[in-house]
């Protein structure tokens, strides 16, 4: 209730200006005209979909707001010169087709994953790699993520394209987040922070609705480093213990005005209205796929008995 109230006040400006004509009290949960309101309720996992009524009586499906974190690759590249709605729509259809064949689970930077890939040079034709996701990016069918592990004292990073048909299976062994969006500093950290056993078992989540944030602070090796970590405002790194001149130089080079630059952030993101449209388009298919997988898993576990 408190969460809903906070979000409501935050979005009140938007809600009022766009849905003035459809203002309905919060007590009416079944039919409301404010998609933002219902998506708050839809955000609670127990009620995945809410069908809202339009003025003309057509139902409008709205996706929960978490979709933009679970499926960020469905959002297109914000660069306006290369955007085309029709091509993006076709790409999304292809992505859904691929997702119907293979399960691409929810994961974040900092999650430990295992990927099985068809490899002609492997002894049993499949290569499995376990690692921590240090970065993810790309949009559409080009979406990728990098897994890092230390194998025989050698750091190894592999970039996987999420929609490549050579990938047989993507498992998330431990679903968690870290304090930073990019963990490239693990390359300069002590090797124990990047080492994970290759035969690691998937861990069961205690709390299904919230993804835990691991507040781990990583210790870096002594300099030289691959990047100037002191200039990057990292949260997940222990105190760097550098001479003061490094921090002075970092201050001189810093761009503190960027956080006030609205146009910069606007150009780097897709507007909220468009995001809602995009996820509403793919929402029902993704849900169906999720349900089918759950049924298969349940049937599989039943068959064991």
């Amino acid at each position: 209730m408190l969460r809903r109230a906070v979000l409501q006040t935050f979005r009140q400006g938007l809600a009022q200006s766009f849905f003035k004509r459809y203002a309905v009290s919060l007590t009416e949960t079944t039919v409301t005209h404010q998609p933002i309101e219902t998506s708050d309720e839809a955000g609670e996992k127990s009620v995945p979909t809410q069908k809202t009524g339009d003025e003309s009586g057509n139902t409008v499906v709205v996706a929960p707001p978490e979709f933009r974190f679970i499926y960020p690759e469905f959002l297109p590249d914000p660069a306006m010169e290369r955007r085309n709605r029709l091509r993006e729509k076709l790409e999304r259809m292809d992505m859904l087709q691929r997702r119907s064949v293979i399960e691409i689970p929810e994961f974040y930077t900092g999650s430990i994953m295992a990927v099985t890939v068809a490899d002609a040079n492997s002894p049993n034709k499949f290569a499995r790699f376990v690692g921590i996701c240090i970065q993810r990016g790309g949009s559409g069918l080009r979406a990728w993520f990098i897994l890092r592990n230390v194998v025989d004292k050698q750091g190894v990073e592999i970039l996987y394209e999420m929609y490549c048909p050579l990938i047989q299976k993507i498992e998330v062994l431990r679903l968690e987040r870290r304090l930073d969006e990019s963990l490239l500093y693990l390359r300069d950290a002590l090797p124990e922070y990047s080492t994970f056993p290759m035969d690691m078992e998937p861990e069961r989540r205690l709390n299904n609705s919230v993804v835990p944030i691991n507040p781990l602070k990583v210790k870096l090796r002594p300099r030289p480093w691959l990047e100037r970590w002191e200039r990057q405002n990292l949260q997940g790194v222990e105190d760097l213990n550098l001479p003061q001149r490094f921090y002075d130089r970092a201050e001189k080079v810093a761009k503190p005005w960027e956080k006030y630059d609205l146009m910069l952030h606007y150009r780097k993101t897709i507007p909220a209205e468009e995001q809602e449209k995009i996820f509403a388009e793919v929402h029902s298919q993704l849900q169906q796929q999720e349900l089918k997988r759950k049924l298969r898993r349940r049937r599989g576990s039943d068959n064991e008995y």
Binding site: R83, N84, L86, L90, D94, Q97, R98, S100, A118, A120
Partner: protein, 373 residues
């Protein structure tokens, strides 16, 4: 080797036709830099490669009027008049049009198609190799008129093109219907005979008489066949005024080691001895891009009949959302061996819908199981 010029398309400017007829391939294919002909380079440097104005025989296209103070009632009346004039036409079937049943033969030149390059999508082949495919959206093409060979040979460009050869016909195709209010009366009159909404884009395609199409024929993505090779014509990305490093690939100078003001410059532009002047065609900074180019022999790997989309393996000249023209290829070893939809594709008479998404056999279809090597 440079004799067969039947693929030459009408959009070339009048000035460039004469010389481009002989040397166009040398400019468009990088490999031909091996056969460096200094004579040709010197002549080409005198040719005007870009024009911002259309040929003198074109009518004025865009409305020059500024905001007129018309009342809203009158505006509404104007829109009613427009709607009355261009009432919706029902889709034309092949049987309605009076097309002569002509046979296809290997020497036939079919019409091309106007499309928009809407971007690039990555796809994978059956062995897991990633390929870059350009997505081309075939716009609402309609044939505006057909000019028979005898008449076309009398026109300015036709006379030049078919000076010593047997003349071919010309098909005028338009794409992207839009509001008549934005065009001049003279431009809209080009479409009055056919009764179509004026098109934003027009193009001419040189066709053999047996591939002629009557006016108002729609051209769709089905005009092409999966696996065929096409040539795509477009205007390259406009880079503006560019320096010698980007424009010609010069190496410039060292970035450090005491270099004074010589990082991205051209350096020497000639010797002192022979000729004792700068040769014409000397590579220097200047306007780069916005030039007419063909990318030849691109393979069609996927056709989506529902949205009129063609996926072509490789890249195409021009930026995203620019208009291109697609032709059957001129490369002799990749031409048709079997008859394509001739003269164009028409949906079957018995009402059966065509297959919506057609894939080439080399591509991995996304809905099929993962590849295991």
């Amino acid at each position: 080797m440079f004799q067969s010029l039947e693929w030459r398309n009408e959009k070339l400017s009048y000035l460039a036709v004469k010389i481009c007829l002989a040397v166009d391939i040398t400019l468009s294919l990088k490999a031909f830099r091996l056969f460096f002909n200094h004579e040709q380079i010197r002549t080409m440097s005198r040719v005007k490669r870009r024009t911002t104005h259309p040929p003198y025989w074109h009518v004025l296209k865009n409305n020059q009027r500024t905001d007129e103070k018309i009342s809203s009632d009158n505006l509404r009346f104007v829109q009613e008049v427009i709607q009355d004039k261009y009432k919706n036409k029902s889709p034309i079937k092949g049987s309605d049009l009076d097309i002569e049943k002509t046979e296809w033969d290997p020497k036939t030149k079919r019409s091309g198609v106007i499309a928009r390059n809407i971007g690039v999508q990555h796809m994978w082949e059956k062995d897991g190799k990633k390929v870059i495919c350009t997505v081309l959206h075939v716009l609402d093409n309609h044939v505006i008129r057909y000019v028979p060979p005898e008449e076309y040979a009398k026109s300015v460009i036709g006379a030049k093109m078919f000076k010593n050869r047997k003349p071919l016909g010309c098909l005028v195709v338009g794409a992207e219907a839009s509001n008549p209010e934005r065009f001049t009366r003279q431009y809209c009159s080009l479409f009055d005979e056919v009764g179509l909404l004026p098109k934003k884009r027009l193009a001419r395609f040189i066709v053999t008489p047996n591939a002629a199409l009557p006016p108002c024929t729609p051209l769709t993505a089905g005009h092409f066949v999966i696996g065929q090779a096409v040539d795509v014509y477009g205007k390259t990305i406009d880079y503006g005024f560019q320096g010698v490093v980007k424009r010609w690939g010069f190496k410039g100078g060292p970035a450090s080691h005491g270099t004074t003001k010589f990082h991205r410059r051209g350096g020497t532009i000639g010797t002192g001895r022979d000729k004792a002047r700068v040769w014409p065609g000397q590579k220097m900074p200047g306007h780069m891009g916005s030039e007419r180019r063909f990318n030849r022999g691109l393979k069609i790997v996927r056709i989506n009949m529902k949205y009129n989309i063609i996926y072509v393996k490789g890249t195409v000249p021009g930026p995203t959302n620019s208009i291109v023209q697609i032709f059957d290829t001129a490369l002799p070893r990749r031409k048709f061996t079997e008859a394509p939809p001739h003269p164009t594709y028409f949906p079957p008479e018995d009402g059966t819908l065509p297959q919506e998404d057609i894939w080439d056999s080399s591509l991995h279809v996304f809905g099929s199981p993962s590849i295991s090597v």
